[in-house]
Assembly symmetry: C2
């Protein structure tokens, strides 16, 4: 059965993204960049291969406006996302936005679609595009928290990095009390992978 | 070598204790009580035996005022802590306090000592009492955060329970940015045990 999955890297104190996001620092400050070393550091990459592969193993993706790029109000039509001309998704990506924008097909099968009528509409379109495959909520934390608060995530994969950051955007901020079932916990040298299913 | 250890149970959103602590609800609200099911639930207790044993395997303990009992200003000399006449520590316990109080010897080897001159003084006395054994920071979160901020904890053991709570006192609140080394991660049915050492 098709699931709604979500992967998010957080610090020990629960921050998933920082203030100060720019085109040069997509995750915010340098400290927050450390949250993602386990994916991008060549040495760490091998031992975390299974979790990295799982992140992009979906039939469609949903992401927030800031995950697509810095929000300066009007669209900059030259901006095609953080990932260059061949993004790692290779499938439809639905970007939650306040302003309409034409579909943006990229190399390698990724097409960005801009959805202005909310998370439920985005999920409906993503499910249709994904078919039998999963829909992945790609971030950032604000978007993940919206989907969690609405009870729409079937599998939450939290990647905890061994650092205290002290500021930024928190996973679970504004999410009402809820119980989960633990699915697995796996620790590699610089990250611990925790998987949860909601108790419904 | 003797270490300063610390065990703390937290929710997925990082809360270690709740508002509303009373004599009947030592951890605050009922929701926060769920943080400790893995220790007190008879079924869970067996599979978490090693971690439970490690919590009280120290030569001396340090705890905050609220961990000893609800703080209503003046001492209530009839209050001997939450644990009855034979507390599970069986060793000296140094309680951080604002008011002097005479030593309180209990059954089974536990003696509560009340320390009014701060965390460094408490640690010095606890180290002397512990000899070659570890000193354990027993909580609550405010006390743990003070010791973390001062860089005094050698081994932090975080027990993550699969629940979102949304309010209370957070582990790591006010602790400055810091890097840790992951020591281990172990998941049982209703808790995940994470062990960290600070990078110094």
């Amino acid at each position: 059965m098709s699931l709604v999955t979500c992967d998010l890297s957080v610090s020990m104190d629960g921050f998933a993204a920082g203030p100060g996001q720019t085109r040069e620092l997509p995750f915010g400050t340098i400290e927050h960049d450390r949250l993602h070393d386990w994916m991008f550091d060549p040495e760490a990459e091998a031992e975390n291969r299974a979790e990295i592969d799982a992140i992009v193993d979906a039939g469609a993706f949903i992401m927030g406006r800031h995950m697509f790029g810095p929000d300066r109000g009007e669209w900059d039509l030259d901006w095609h996302g953080w990932w260059g001309e061949n993004p790692p998704y290779h499938r439809p990506v639905f970007v939650l936005a306040h302003r309409e924008r034409a579909d943006l097909p990229m190399e390698g099968g990724t097409t960005f679609h801009f959805v202005t009528d909310g998370i439920h509409a985005a999920l409906e379109r993503a499910r249709a595009a994904a078919g039998d495959r999963n829909v992945a909520i790609a971030g950032g934390p604000g978007t993940v928290n919206q989907f969690l608060a609405a009870g729409l995530i079937d599998e939450l994969r939290v990647h905890v990095t061994p650092t205290i950051i002290g500021a930024g955007e928190r996973l679970f901020d504004g999410v009402p009390p809820a119980a989960f079932e633990q699915v697995s916990a796996r620790s590699t040298s610089i990250v611990t992978h925790l998987v949860y299913h909601p108790v419904r």
